[in-house]
Chain length 223, copies 2
């Protein structure tokens, strides 16, 4: 995949805070976003509302059904929350043929609003995505970026994004995608086997957010 | 515990890289360290060698047996590696009466040198320490600071230390201790229930160290 192919991205399950935040940040970076949802009309409304928050120079955010979003772009970001991930992903086709698929989901359970990490049978959400889409090149990324922070489009980001996957070329593409968003530094973290460790940081950050009334992220020091 | 009581610290299991690194950094910060080992003669040799690497203005590092180190200071840092933690800690007395005990151990298994997080039955190494020392006030901290980086005493540190525990006053003491080391920022992370999440970051950092030939740590952004 060349830089040319970073011209557009499918954002599956894109109507939630993470999907909207990423869509807006990518559009600002000049990347057309096909913002998908099970409900095409809802996707259109969210895409329109998100676009209106961005400068006129931003690329388009086009709302459509998840399945059509996948058909429009060669790179797919899955922004479906973990609870709905298996059911919604299994209903989609086209995530095959070596397609690069970015898993952002974090396996968590909430007890009175307090998040705890959950360990899926597959080992991690990214490995679950790989099991459902065996012919895709799955890359885990963007787990620790606070959706609320992404959505404040005027805020300058300043944090790292751990990127893990078994296909080095696919990881290269995703690191290039992350690097297109100002203030995010992609950090190669290894194979898909480390996805569980990357995903496990997020419940801790959510607890820090509650404790410190903040929107935290991580930075790896010493690199 | 007042600031006065931060004048000395017992470093149990202090002859390994983390113990030596912390002992040196604390001594440079003016805190006397009772560096303990099961083998008192070995502790004396390590304490002497570590002291010789420090400026003359550093406080003393005194090598002695673990049990005697505990008797000399009101604050105890446990620097025993996880594999030996339960056996060595169970053999010691005096970690009771509300004493503040810092757990630094990280539950890990190594497969051909590659570290993976292990989940102890107690939930975390810190909770294991609490189970062995039910009358201590256990605080988890210093899991993510690279021992190799600590040991390069001329290197300036620049990273965060997550501090978790169920006793707020004990956490205050440990955050004050961490803050005495220049370049380390203590971050309150919640109760002992989050110790597993804090400890779980370390195997990921060790993998990043291998991948990037670096000595990584973490910084929490957005605070």
């Amino acid at each position: 995949m060349s830089d040319d192919e970073l011209q557009s991205v499918a954002m599956v399950g894109g109507t939630g805070p993470l999907g909207r935040g990423l869509a807006g940040r990518l559009a600002v970076a000049g990347i057309t976003v096909w913002l998908g949802s099970r409900d095409g009309a809802r996707a259109e409304a969210v895409a329109r509302a998100t676009s209106e928050m961005l400068p006129a120079s931003a690329a388009a955010i086009v709302g459509t059904e998840n399945q059509r979003a996948i058909q429009q772009a060669s790179l797919t970001v899955i922004a479906i929350p973990y609870d709905a991930l298996a059911a919604q992903l299994s209903a989609l086709t086209g995530l095959d043929g070596g397609r690069v698929v970015v898993s952002t989901a974090v396996p968590m359970a909430f007890d009175k609003g307090v998040p705890t990490a959950v360990r899926p049978e597959a080992g991690s959400a990214a490995q679950l995505v790989q099991a459902i889409c065996p012919d895709a090149r799955v890359v885990g990324a963007l787990h620790t970026v606070a959706a609320g922070q992404l959505l404040r489009f005027d805020d300058v980001l300043d944090e790292d994004v751990l990127v893990c996957g078994d296909d080095p070329a696919a990881c290269d593409v995703v690191r290039a995608l992350v690097a297109r968003i100002p203030g995010l530094r992609p950090v190669a973290a290894g194979g898909l086997a480390v996805a569980g460790a990357c995903e496990g940081i997020t419940p801790l950050l959510l607890r820090l957010n509650r404790l410190h009334r903040a929107q935290t992220g991580i930075r790896i020091t010493g690199l």
